[in-house]
Subunit: 340 residues, 2 copies
DNA sequence: CTGTTAGCGCTTTCAT
DNA sequence: ATGAAAGCGCTAACAG
């Protein structure tokens, strides 16, 4: 018994008059131990209430069995469901997870990267912040040979993987959906253009307009950080436009909701339909009026996929430093307003 | 240099021709080392890019510097903001955090408790599941001398702490608010009665009615798990009641929203005002029609408070096994419908 | 198949 | 004020 009153492999060994290394092997189910002794050892282990000390094991193996997860903010539904997927996959494989929030700030992201390094995580899953335009902190991780998988927000660094949705297609589908429902003057709420996801959604919007011979107008594209306040600002801009806007394609849910709310407060006309991209299975869309059509993007799936990819990197010493990008499917969920 | 290409205290010691124990002391800012040698050591540490190996350090100290956090579901806004508060406080003190979801299921909660034990966390923060009516898994943690702090959902186990809001007062305030706004027939959406928070909110409701001489009616209390579907069911029951309901006091946000949505879909009259308890700074309430008055309960604050309390238990060997309950203030946020 | 031995990198007595 | 030595609990050569 050690000082914490917990049995160690030595206690088991002593009780059975064998060596602790055999106990270790048995407990790790090594083929180099007879089934009979394994049984004896396992029985004794249970009897003594033995539990492996991961600290010691990990130190010896110089692995932490911990993954770092960096997201802009945990309260965003997309990310909290992604985290659920990440944890499910990680726990299954015996990995723990430490979750960090960048709050969309580069400086915080850099600090987090340092912490993760100091904690010697075995791998990192990250959705970069909107501010992230320099990548040294991420490259530092790669230099220490820590695998990185980017999810949702694309990042182009050598020897890293990406798990994304097809943002171009989603943007195209969202916009076309509006057009097919009769919208002509469609405004686009876009995000910061240094993020690929927003550039691609924007391009999808443009191409859909082209396809349907609707002229593209520069002043119909409103770029922001897509926070709720930005949505409100966007709504004001819409009202100031010399056109009757009959559709909005917002690159995320939050800004769309902000705009909606403002328009309602002002007693203004609500565009016929609003398509939103970047939306997980959040309940908000189903409770606001008019119901929003959304592009469904399962955070849970993305989290799971990204994690298994990362774990394969963490475990396979073989296929080291191969970049890979996985694109997951999205689907458009149409919601008709009940009041029409 | 070790196999991971990382400097150790031995590397620093060798380079400086001193012993590694001195290096260790210096790096821990022990008073038993001269400032001059400390400076030398720190300089060399930086030069070599030294980073402490926490695994080794923790093994030696037999502490994990990890806290377990168990919540019903991370996607609930109240819990995700509580987690943010927990992390902020924990990281400041050099602790990591592992987050687990019980999904309101006792069985999962029991498994999680086992895992946390196996991981030898230094302390546990938990909001018990709605199903939790047996407490062996939690007592097992206490037996291993792992401090526990319950937050939001009260749990009465010896030698543990609770960080709560005043649910009785909140229930009272919510109900009185409805009464003062003219409601007479006020329905209460209640949660499972094995949780104190719901019993207390329920009692607050009753006492508020009493105070204002409004007769209490058994059939105005609808108990459920307070999921969205339950809200829908509740709404149906309301419509079937032989009274004109003019107020709802829901013990949480989710059920209230479910009910609202159903009532709207059916084109039914919406009660004049709805007070909700159990509500964090979630944006939902501000985007639905009619606006809901809510009891504001800051998950972030609760998380922070609970964590500092837990850390004091984890660190102070002195005041061991003293139970304590902290009650945090809530405030009612009134929102007038814009359409009235 | 099992035992011996030597550490992983750090902290902590106990000396000096 | 610093050094020497022991060991946290486990794993992984290397023997036999």
């Amino acid at each position: 018994m050690n000082k914490n009153n917990k049995a160690t492999i030595h206690d088991i060994a002593r009780a059975l008059n064998i060596d602790s290394s055999t106990v270790s092997r048995a407990l790790n189910d090594s083929p180099r131990v007879t089934q009979k002794t394994k049984d004896k050892i396992i029985a004794k282990a249970n009897e003594l209430g033995y539990q492996r000390n991961h600290l010691a094991s990990n130190l010896r193996k110089s692995k932490t069995y911990t993954l770092g997860v960096v997201v802009p903010r945990i309260s965003r539904h997309f990310f909290s469901s992604a985290i659920a997927g990440i944890e499910e996959t990680a726990y299954q494989e015996g990995y723990n997870v430490v979750i960090c929030q960048s709050l969309e700030a580069l400086e915080r992201e850099q600090k987090i990267a340092e912490t993760l390094l100091a904690n010697r995580v075995d791998g990192v899953l990250i959705s970069i912040s909107m501010e992230t335009s320099s990548y040294e902190h991420l490259q530092a991780l790669r230099q220490r040979n820590i695998p990185i998988v980017f999810f949702d927000r694309f990042c182009d660094i050598p020897d890293t993987c990406n798990v994304l949705i097809d943002d171009f297609q989603a943007g195209f589908n969202a916009t076309e959906h509006l057009i097919l429902n009769g919208s002509k003057n469609i405004v686009h709420f876009s995000g910061t253009q240094n993020l690929d996801i927003y550039r691609n959604r924007y391009n999808g919007y443009k191409v859909a307009l082209e396809k349907h011979n609707i002229p593209f107008r520069e002043d119909f594209v409103l770029s922001s950080k897509l926070m709720k306040e930005d949505g409100v600002e966007n709504a004001k801009k819409i009202l100031a436009l010399p056109y009757k806007i009959d559709g909005i394609f917002s690159a995320n849910d939050v800004a769309a909701i902000g705009a909606l709310q403002y328009l309602k407060e002002q007693g203004k006309r609500i565009p016929e339909d609003i398509a939103i991209v970047g939306f997980s299975n959040e309940p908000i869309s189903s409770i606001i009026e008019p119901p929003l059509s959304t592009i469904n993007q399962s955070g849970f799936e993305i989290g799971k996929t990204a994690t298994s990819l990362l774990l394969s990197k963490v475990n396979n010493k073989t296929s080291k430093s191969i970049s890979e990008t996985i694109i997951l499917k999205t689907n458009l969920i149409e919601r008709k307003s009940s009041v029409r």
